[in-house]
Amino acid sequence: MRLSPHCEALLQEFIDLRPQLIRLDNQIFELLQTTMQQQGIELNSIEHRIKGVESLAGKLERKGEKYHSLSDITDLIGLRIVTFYTDDVDKVAAIVSQLFDIDWSNSVDKRKLHDFNSFGYNSLHYICQLHEGSIPFEIQIRTALQHTWSAIEHDIGYKGAVKLPPQYRRQFSRLAGMLELADDEFSRLRTTMTEYRRQIQTLVKSGNLSEVTLSTDSFRSYLELHPFERLNQRIAAVNQAELFPASLMPFLRVLEHFGMESLGDVQAMVDDLSDTAYQLALSQLAVTDLDILSESVGLQNLCVVYALKHGGGRDDVKMIYDTLYGANESNAILADAMIRQYKAIGQKQ
């Protein structure tokens, strides 16, 4: 490799500067990471590197005369922020433009260039400096799909001496188009889901439960209100029992089998049947000294009472256990026992 004296000098300057560059690189990285975390933006990754000596030498050899000083080379330090969603790219860009000084004349929004632009190259390239002044560095922002795509494209299309022939280039383009659509769709879907969840939470908190359709999301929100806590505590008081945490989500299927359609239906069950459910639990537990109970005890007894009060029989009670613990003939024995207890507390089927 032959470098002009000018380029040699630049290279040497770079080598001397490396320790400083490494410190600066880490500083920028930490700042980015902390800020993104604070802003609640989840990222796929933040990659960062100092240019290699060989790599710089090669660049200088090719275009060395263009660069008057080392600060004309903008990618001595390079960081790449990879997001999950397209709309996060803009959010991240906004944050980056606040954290650092942007050299807008040299920065490129390659997304705005359409012709011949491969999906993989749709990204933002910002040339930045610290507010207090520093050597310039490059920050690239793109989505995970774009990132993966560009790696694959590079591997298939540009590796080796043979360039991609035109007939395959079109296929490439189509695939890129699909991925771009997917990228956009993911963003849109995320926004919709966030909105939907927010609506459910509002409805649940406002108490208009009969308007909320029973679903996985709405049930989960409903559970955050701890609707069975009072009943559980009454039951636990029987034997001074400790309540063991348990997930109540499996009960959703039982409630759906009952034909419940809104959270209002579930709350009605709690309001109307808690006393009977307590009696049922009491009749089983009082003769034992079981002092540790699952948090599902209240809801479980509510379901049994509900089934029996609505004219159900052994099969309907068995259904509850089949749904919760897996279908098994032996669940019929459990169902029979429950029905006996129900009658024993003076209830008619």
Partner: protein, 100 residues
């Protein structure tokens, strides 16, 4: 009733073979002593060869669970057959343990 204690990866495993009835439970209680020193380990009770369990056996399992919980250890019941799972369901214990 035969019990065997092993350490597998970072777990304390106890294999139960035979019938854990009232007669056997006194002995088994003693053999379960090492499981109580479980800080930093999870416990697996291997029930593949467990044929039967009565209330005294259930109490042993429960006692272990209550000791393990504050130490942050999970108690898993491995390969329990359907009949025995039913016993756990009848006593409500099925909600307290993790079955693998």
């Amino acid at each position: 009733m035969k019990t065997t204690f092993k350490e597998e990866e970072k777990n304390f495993v106890m294999y139960f073979e035979g019938r854990l009835d009232t007669a056997a439970s006194a002995e088994v209680e003693k053999s379960m002593a090492p499981l109580y020193e479980c800080t930093g380990h999870d416990i697996i009770l291997d029930c593949t060869a467990l044929e039967y369990i009565s209330s005294s056996g259930l109490r042993l399992f429960l006692g272990l669970l209550k000791a393990a919980k504050p130490k942050g250890s999970h108690v898993y019941l491995r390969n329990m057959n359907e009949d025995l799972r039913q016993v756990f369901a009848m006593t409500g214990f099925i909600n307290l343990f993790e079955f693998i």
